[in-house]
């Protein structure tokens, strides 16, 4: 699964730490998602989408391998 979390963060002018606090996870978790080391749960994905006020599919997209 790909994501454009980094881009969305830049648009909303949020640091990893700020986003992490908004969705109550650690900064490592945000970093791991951005570097494609971790696929977030549906709950966390929905929370992130809510912060960016965008539908889920515009932030997270499936890859060939999925």
């Amino acid at each position: 699964m790909k994501n454009n979390l980094k881009v969305e963060r830049a648009i909303h002018n949020l640091t990893q730490e700020e986003l992490a606090q908004k969705v109550s996870v650690s900064r490592q978790t945000i970093h791991a998602i951005e570097t494609n080391k971790y696929v977030p749960s549906t709950i966390l994905s929905l929370k992130i989408a809510q912060i960016f006020s965008k539908p889920l599919e515009q932030i997270f997209t499936l890859e060939e391998a999925d």
Binding site: T15, Q16, E17, S24, V25, S26, R27, Q28, T29, H31, A32, Y38, P40, S41, I43, L44
Partner: protein, 159 residues
């Protein structure tokens, strides 16, 4: 998301106070012959007691050395508190790291045990059995903390 079956974060510190002294004492006891000097003989309740060349006993009070019992109990309690307490910032990613570390630890533990089964015989295997009572938790704690540390290190500072 709430994490079930984990202790509050504060238990982690208490766990280390349990684990370190009992591990040191236990290890010293294993490698040296402190058995005679360090003994805590007392009456305890036993569900079962079977001794070499004597009759077995069920559901009775026996008089025995409980040093190993105390060391082992304190060690296990400490290991459980360290391994299964929440992190300061517990979240789903950490939960996933914890579970995958546990899987890794069980794999490694049983591969080591299998090798010991095949290659170690006689009284040496008795030591293997004693160590093996504690190795799953030791390997798990080591692996989990190593992975956590690795992720902490690989997360660059912002700005």
């Amino acid at each position: 998301m709430s994490q079930k079956m984990l202790l509050p974060n504060g238990f982690k510190k208490i766990g280390w106070f349990f684990l370190v002294p009992s591990a040191v004492l236990g290890f010293i006891r294993m490698i040296s012959d402190l058995e005679q000097r360090l003994s805590l003989k007392t009456k305890v309740f036993a569900l079962y007691n079977g001794e070499f060349l004597s009759s077995e006993k069920q559901f009775g009070v026996i008089n025995t050395d409980i040093t190993n019992t105390v060391i082992g109990t304190v060690f296990i309690l400490g290991a459980l508190m360290i391994g299964f307490s929440k992190e300061k910032k517990e979240d789903e990613f950490i939960a996933k790291l914890r579970l995958s570390s546990l899987l890794w630890a069980v794999w490694v533990n049983y591969i080591l045990l299998l090798l010991a089964f095949i290659f170690i015989y006689g009284t040496g295997f008795l030591s293997v059995m004693i160590y093996n009572m504690f190795t799953v938790m030791i390997i798990f704690i080591g692996r989990f903390n190593f992975i956590l540390f690795k992720y902490k290190m690989s997360t660059p500072n912002e700005k």
